[in-house]
């Protein structure tokens, strides 16, 4: 019985291969976007975990030097002789940006061992100790920077190292970093007790349970996840449409099967099994597509994370069971959710119920009204959440509320809009056109909601990115006012450079900085000279009137916006700093930097941090001369490329990082829109057969199929345009929430929102293109309908 019933049910798909294709396509696309985003996130998280667990940072206590001082091998020997179970670590970056970790394998705690690090009984230990081999992440083994840094050293692949990181014996590390005798910190072996209180000048750091990278990049990944969920939701509209159609068209078969004695629950189970099988097929396709998508996007994501946060993420993707299974589960869950309504009706279906078609998704005017009311209530709640709530998740809840609320209102709003237009319509065709467009809303509402979400996301993200770009470029101009930035390799070289340069340029402005914890997070304190460069250009958001004089006299400090927001500091409030507190005289914008920052006058800084040497300078000179002057310095002092950076170079690099940051967002945006267009196409195809009885009499009354098809296409365009009109304010609201709520929570800075009417036109065009793409096939099919098919409408019961 089951086999017979199943054959009857499945024969439907043989007769409607297009429908089957749509169902699989929709589900596969939704799964692809979801699992692609998850794959990217999983890869990045795995990289952070690697970075976080390297040398047991997540498990081991550390002894670190007080700020502004450094440790030596003598400190190490003294601590060991005093019974401290410590192992030295030297960390730093080479001039080419490689991260170097130097360890001492004989004292390294067992918990800190990294895969690939030679053990005490390994015959490679000698080579490691002698600096003949070093460990490098497998995926960056072949990078030229690595080869250049490790000349004469055999680089060995280590699976657990983050990319662009060299793990070497501390003796090799101090040579690579040119920091002989220095130690950055001590790892403490947890298997041995501490002999006494922490010696003066050192601080005991508990293991960082929550790695900084994961925290910094959390918002970025949350953004991606939100996109993935949105894409999946949009994809579900397609699935819902296709499954709904399959249920409706098989109502007759099901009724017959019931009448022939197949129990309802058997039928339901069969349908469920069928759906799950389809979900599995589509899910597998989707996961495959997702993998391809993630693999294509990952290099950009990796570049973004590297540029924005310094987080090293490999550019290659691994197929991980986590997101693969999650993708399949989402596909199955989504399919069942989309089919639940049908199965529910099937269970309740009396065996001999009328086979008359019911519009499966048809919302009557009444349900439309209730939907709209629910949507309004949701929007209201969203506004309340915005006023009352704080935190990143509130931001995302607000985004979700906005989107869902607007989606619920969409059908009623479109219906009202079309009714208003219809009233003004003069000609009979025009009246019919508008009335019929309105009549289409119930069947298309889900697809149009999908389009609304995709368009709104487009506007919102687009506006955010454009606002960000406009603000960012302006800020770069202010912040990078000097023509050249110079970093010397040593204090001696710095002095020589300064002596040579000073008579040749307008001004040499020393820049000093120290890494200091600020409001509980790693932060930086800068010292800058009192100069017009800063007075005229520095991007202050708010400041006391005599801010630069206060700074120069050492009576106040400037802080970045991130610190101001995080620590709740405002002008005139007191900031705790090494060497004594200072009042805040100004707050400046500091985009792209997640860390808190303080700016002091140069003299104050050197008093507070006497050990910090001056090795960096900003040079002022006529900008036309910058390039030739840079060449001269390089020749004179044989400086490496990285030691001298011109303003244009930094700006170009910063903008490149910026563009890449949003390249991913842009790609996802386009894909989401594509899914929405597919949803419309599916819905239109679903509706096509149901539309025939409505169109055939008009054809019979003297309208050619060609005109009917054109009108139908125009109707789709009108609906899409109407949706776009609604998507615009929604998108702007979205952008505002992103800029004023999510950004502030995630990055610590608020960006002014700017309007880009040109983009709105683009939005309308985008909506029309999407609708055109979706409406063209159904229109062509209508145009090519055989008269016999249309005439059958008059004869058949339908």
């Amino acid at each position: 019985m089951i086999r017979t019933a199943l054959t009857a049910l499945l024969s439907h798909w043989r007769r409607h291969p297009m429908q089957l294709a749509m169902l699989l396509l929709g589900l596969a696309l939704a799964t692809a976007l979801w699992s692609g985003v998850q794959a990217i996130n999983a890869e990045a998280r795995a990289a952070y975990d690697r970075a976080a667990t390297i040398l047991g940072q997540d498990r081991l206590d550390r002894l670190e030097p007080a700020s502004g001082t450094s440790l030596t091998t003598a400190d190490f020997a003294a601590l060991r002789q005093a019974g401290w179970p410590v192992s030295p670590v030297l960390e730093g970056r080479t001039v080419t940006g490689l991260r170097v970790l130097g360890v001492e394998p004989l004292t390294l705690p067992r918990d800190a061992a990294t895969a690939g690090l030679p053990g005490l009984s390994s015959d490679r230990l000698t080579d490691f100790l002698r600096g003949r081999i070093a460990l490098v992440a497998a995926e960056t083994l072949a990078r030229p920077e690595v080869a250049a840094a490790l000349e004469g050293v055999a680089a060995t692949a280590a699976p657990d190292l983050p990319p662009m990181t060299i793990l070497a014996d501390i003796g090799l590390a101090e040579r690579l970093l040119d920091r002989p005798g220095e130690i950055s910190a001590f790892l403490i072996d947890p298997s041995r007790p501490l002999p006494g209180p922490v010696p003066i000048g050192l601080t005991l750091q508990a293991p960082a349970a929550d790695d900084g990278l994961a925290r910094l990049t959390g918002s970025f990944h949350l953004n991606l996840t939100a996109f993935g969920v949105l894409a999946f939701a949009v994809g579900l509209f397609i699935v819902h449409a296709a499954i709904g159609l399959a249920f409706e068209q098989r109502r007759g078969v099901m009724r017959t099967l019931r009448a022939l004695g197949v129990p309802a629950w058997t039928l339901a189970a069969l349908v469920m099994a069928e759906l799950l099988a389809l979900a599995l097929i589509a899910g597998l396709i989707g996961v495959g597509l997702g993998y391809a998508l993630a693999a294509a996007l990952l290099p950009d994501v990796a570049a973004t994370l590297g540029g924005l946060y310094g987080a090293a993420v490999p550019g290659t993707l691994e197929l991980r069971p986590g997101w693969t299974l999650a993708g399949l589960a989402m596909a199955a869950g989504g399919t069942l959710a989309a089919g639940a309504q049908g199965i529910w009706q099937l269970m309740r279906l009396p065996p001999l119920a009328s086979a008359a078609p019911q519009a499966w998704a048809a919302a009557t005017a009444t349900t439309r009204r209730w939907q709209a009311l629910a949507g309004l209530a949701l929007l209201l709640a969203t506004v309340l959440a915005l006023v009352a709530g704080t935190g990143l998740w509130t931001g995302f809840a607000v985004l979700a509320g906005l989107l869902l609320g607007a989606a619920l209102i969409l059908p009623a709003a479109l219906a009202a809009g079309l009714a208003a237009v219809a009233k003004r319509a003069k000609g009979v065709l025009a009246q019919w056109f508008w009335a019929d467009a309105r009549h289409q809303i119930p069947g298309l509402s889900l697809a149009l909601m999908a389009l609304l979400l995709a368009l709104a996301a487009n506007v919102g993200v687009g506006t955010m990115v454009a606002s960000f770009r406009a603000t960012f470029t302006g800020w770069l101009d202010q912040r990078l006012a000097s023509e050249l930035y110079l970093t010397a390799g040593s204090p001696a070289e710095a002095a020589a450079l300064r002596a040579w340069i000073t008579p040749r340029v307008d001004a040499v402005l020393p820049i000093v900085f120290a890494e200091v914890p600020l409001s509980g997070q790693p932060g930086e304190v800068f010292g800058v000279a009192d100069h017009a460069t800063y007075r005229d250009h520095w991007p202050l958001l708010s400041a006391l009137p005599d801010v630069w004089d206060l700074l120069a006299r050492g009576e106040a400090a400037l802080i970045n916006e991130q610190l101001a927001r995080r620590a709740g500091l405002d002008l005139g409030m007191i900031l705790d700093l090494p060497g004594g507190p200072l009042p805040v005289a100004g707050v400046y914008s500091d985009y792209g930097n997640p860390a808190p920052q303080v700016m002091l006058g140069f003299d104050t800084f050197t008093r507070r941090f006497p050990d910090v040497e001056v090795t960096r300078f900003a040079l002022r000179l006529p900008s036309a001369d910058a390039e030739s002057f840079a060449t001269r310095i390089r020749q004179e002092f044989a400086l490496p490329d990285t030691a001298l950076i011109d303003q244009a170079g930094i700006k170009a690099f910063s903008l490149k990082v910026f563009e890449r940051t949003f390249a991913v967002t842009g790609a996802l945006n386009v894909l989401t829109l594509g899914v929405a267009a597919t949803a419309i196409l599916t819905s239109l195809l679903t509706l096509a057969d149901r539309r025939l009885p409505q169109l055939a009499p008009v054809w019979a009354m003297g309208l050619t199929r060609r005109r009917l098809a054109l009108l139908d296409l125009a109707r789709t365009l009108v609906l899409a345009l109407g949706t776009a009109v609604l998507a615009l304010p929604l998108g702007l609201a979205l952008a505002w929430v992103l800029l004023a709520v999510v950004n502030v929570e995630a990055f610590g800075w608020r960006l002014p929102m700017k309007a880009f009417p040109g983009d709105w036109l683009k939005l309308a065009v985008t909506a029309l293109v999407a609708a055109l793409g979706a409406g063209l096939i159904p229109a062509l099919r209508l145009m090519r309908r055989q008269p016999a098919e249309l005439m059958r409408v008059f004869a058949n019961e339908r």
Binding site: V428, A788, A795
Partner: protein, 219 residues
């Protein structure tokens, strides 16, 4: 003649092969005349009606409406002729669901540019629809819907009314009322009527009748 059908044949391709629906059918219809076309299911009577409306084209033979041969017209030409000169009444009414009864009634006339508000109002009144014009098809009974459909066909003042089982979906009493209304209004509009029916009783109420069987005219 309002309608001349000469030696018309028509076949359809189906899954089971070719089906010859009409084989050399001829008939004529004079202005104001009413003709009943009877026959069993599948005898080809609906096909003949659809061909006469220019909804489809014949394989052979010709159909002339008011002096215009349909075979000389293209799709758009046939549509224009249909719009102006033919009123269609279907078994399932086939009103436009997105328009109310009033708009449905006036639809074809306005489409043809021949909308006469007085005539439309008169028809609505005569069909007993005056108080129902603002209603949508789904809010009307079958009889009411068919009366709107008849009004729609007559509103354009066509030369020819083609009706396919106009009372087939209605109970007998309603059907009789609707038919009586249609006949009187067709007469009033001086239009010719070709009505397909399988009911001898209804056929008897028309001026003439032809019986189709196996795609040929019998009597």
């Amino acid at each position: 003649m309002v309608l001349t059908v000469e030696g018309v044949s028509k076949h359809y391709e189906t899954a089971d092969g070719q089906v010859q629906v009409l084989s050399g059918v001829s008939l004529t219809l004079a202005p104001g005349e009413s003709l009943a076309l009877t026959g069993e299911s599948g005898s080809g009577k609906s096909t003949l009606l659809h061909l006469s409306a220019g909804l489809d084209t014949a394989d052979a033979g010709q159909i002339v409406i008011g002096g215009t041969s349909l075979s000389r017209l293209d799709d758009a030409g046939r549509a224009a002729l249909r719009r102006v000169r033919i009123g269609l009444v279907f078994q399932h009414y086939n009103l436009i669901p997105s328009l109310n009864a009033g708009a449905n009634l006036a639809f074809q006339a306005r489409l043809a540019g021949r909308h006469d508000p007085d005539w439309a109002a008169y028809l609505a009144d005569a069909l007993g629809l005056a108080s129902l014009l603002h209603r949508y098809p789904e809010q009307l009974s079958g009889g009411q819907q068919q009366r709107v459909a008849i009004g729609r066909a007559l509103a354009v003042r066509p030369d020819l009314i083609l009706a396919d089982e106009p009372t087939g979906n209605l109970d007998e009493a309603t059907g009789d009322t609707v038919l009586a209304l249609m006949l009187s209004l067709v007469a009033e509009a001086k239009a010719a009527l070709l009505m397909v029916t399988h009911s001898e009783r209804l056929a008897a109420r028309l001026d003439r009748r032809l019986h189709l069987a196996g795609g040929r005219i019998l009597s």
